[in-house]
Amino acid sequence: MKTENQRGWFFVLPVLFLVAFNALVPIMTVVNYSVQETFGNNVFFWQGLDWFEQILRSDRFRAALGRQFLFTFLILIIEIPLGIVVALSMPRKGMWVPVCLVTMALPMLIPWNVVGSMWNIFTLPNIGLLGYFMNDVLGVNYDMTQQPVSAWITIVVMDVWHWTSLVVLLSYAGLVSIPDPYYQAAKIDGASPWKVFRYIQLPKMKTVLTIAILLRFMDSFNIYTEPFVLTGGGPGNSTTLLSIDLVKIALGQFDLGPAAAMSLIYFAITLLVSWLFYTLMTKDDAQ
């Protein structure tokens, strides 16, 4: 027997209060700022959707958004295949398994700002180990403080160094969950290594890869600390990603209205892309 009443709602109430307290109310504050203008003293003027229009029309926002998409695209296109390849080449049994796992986990244990500082010192021209090696030993003109391309290579490589492990560990978890008979059956069926990957390993990794790609998308799309510590968004504006630009507007210029509008747009884009992506990846399973 199913009882039809509304009592269930009472069980959800505590969570509702909690979420309201730590998420809904702060977001509403941002919404509040995004439609008004203030000069301090708690005096507000109604502005409507002006800030949104201003942000969406501004070249500065579009440039930052473009850089943001480029950055996320680059790190996904490198980290996902690289992570799968590393996971495939890791041993699945024996004494080397824990060694590999711990080594893989190490970069992720380092705090973000420490990673930024490490890479900053590492890549500074002439005094950093890599910077010195590139310029004075290999003779390659490499200076991430002056050249946009060098700066971009550095932030991408830094992110790959920091986060490929996540993809590796998730893929590895998917791989070790495949029972031996699958490989044995494939051997007996005469499947080539590529077919084993295509029809056994990849399908079994799909769920964890969806999670890996989503996590890497959201993290990289919202990245702030590492590039800020490394390049501060420079040289010029070349590595000013969305969140760095947002902080500049909000705290540097103290333009609270445009900053609030921008963070809402930013939030909407992240949500939309994640949703699109998740729907596409899980579409097959629903059939």
């Binding site: 008979p181 059956a185 051997k187 007996i188 069926d189 077919k195 029809y199 079994k204």
Partner: protein, 357 residues
């Protein structure tokens, strides 16, 4: 199709085996005739899966050779042996349709698409999965998945042997008999050598023409289901096959007579050898309640449907008898009679009486 010969096969999972206890398989010599239906029967850990993996080529034996029609295949990988194997858990390629699953082994071997379509249709017909061919295999029920795994094994025409490694483990009881009879039917149609590994005697006895019983890495007996039931070569076979198993009773030999609990017992025929540990073996089916014979006290009566199993104590040894009607009560004093031509003597576990002529 081929005759399979296993010659002096031994296998150890340890790198440096030092004694018989280190071997999962101890010296196997065996011929599998072309087109036969065999079962490998034994308790868990007796080495039957090891033997299977050696035949399929997933394992390379420590010692010995495997011949397919006198061709040595010991060092060949599985895909070059032309064998098929069905595993305990259904292995299917989730992302493919049922058709693609069945076609997979053929496509990997470069068979023409027209021939593939023909072959898949034929196999699908045999397995009753024609209406599922376009479905994604991931959406099938476990028993249908297992059917597809079997189909992948049968789809190649030139396959030497199809091996089944406890294939009904994950199948619901009411579907087990269906798949089992399907399998038997398939064997009669395609006449390819099949080896069926199981620890379930019903599965083994219903499927196979010849049953190979294994214990502790050794073959204890090879025979038809009837032979295994009637003349177990070893007390293990007597005990393992049959429900309930054979009565194995401690016995002594005095002055050429077999004594059980102080009473003489007549056995089927002449007794071979001397010394060692002697035991009497008689199936409950051949023990009856009589007016005279071994005095016993009934300890338990269980009704198992068409028969009743009476467990009676002779001294402190329990003896089971299968009777049509249980008209005795617990605690009753009865006499047990053993049918002489079904009473055998075992010496150190192995049969020591000759069959009556």
């Amino acid at each position: 199709m081929a005759k399979i010969t296993l010659s002096k096969l031994r296998h150890s999972y340890l790198p440096n085996p030092s004694g018989p206890q280190d071997y999962a398989l101890k010296e196997i010599d065996l011929d599998w005739d072309d087109g036969g239906a065999y079962a490998l029967l034994g308790p868990s850990g007796c080495g039957k899966s090891t033997l299977l993996n050696i035949i399929s080529g997933l394992l390379v034996p420590s010692e010995g050779r495997i011949l397919f029609d006198d061709r040595d295949v010991t060092d060949l990988p599985p895909d070059q042996r032309n064998i098929a194997q069905v595993f305990q858990f259904p292995v299917i390629y989730d992302t493919m349709t049922v058709f693609d699953n069945l076609a997979f082994p053929l496509r990997n071997r470069g068979v023409a698409e027209a021939r593939i379509a023909e072959r898949v249709a034929e196999i699908a017909g045999m397995l009753d999965v024609v209406d599922m061919l376009d479905i994604r295999a991931a959406h099938l029920s476990p028993d249908n998945k297992q059917k597809i795994s079997m189909g992948r094994g049968l789809v190649r025409e030139d396959v030497n042997v199809v091996m089944f490694d406890e294939p009904l483990t994950v199948i619901d009881p009411h579907l087990k008999w269906k798949l089992r009879s399907k399998l038997k039917e398939l064997h009669q149609r395609v006449r390819v050598t099949m080896i069926y590994v199981t620890h379930d005697q019903t599965e083994a006895l219903t499927f196979a023409d010849q049953v190979v019983v294994m214990q502790d890495g050794e073959i204890v007996q090879i025979g038809t289901p009837v032979e295994l039931f009637e003349r177990p070569q070893h007390t293990f076979v007597g005990h393992f096959i049959g429900s309930p198993g054979m009565n194995i009773l401690p016995a002594e030999e005095t002055d050429g007579r077999i004594m059980f609990n102080g009473q003489p017992v007549s056995v089927e025929g002449a007794v071979n050898g001397a010394g060692g540990r002697t035991e009497l073996g008689i199936r409950p089916e051949f023990v009856s309640l009589a007016d005279s014979g071994l005095p016993a006290r009934v300890r338990k009566v269980s009704d198992v449907g068409r028969h009743a199993v009476v467990e009676a104590m002779v001294g402190d040894v329990p003896v089971k008898a299968m009777v049509d009607q249980a008209d005795v009560e617990q605690g009753a004093e009865v006499h047990l009679a053993f049918q002489q031509n079904q009473t055998r003597l075992y010496r150190d576990g192995w049969i020591a009486t000759e069959a009556p002529t």
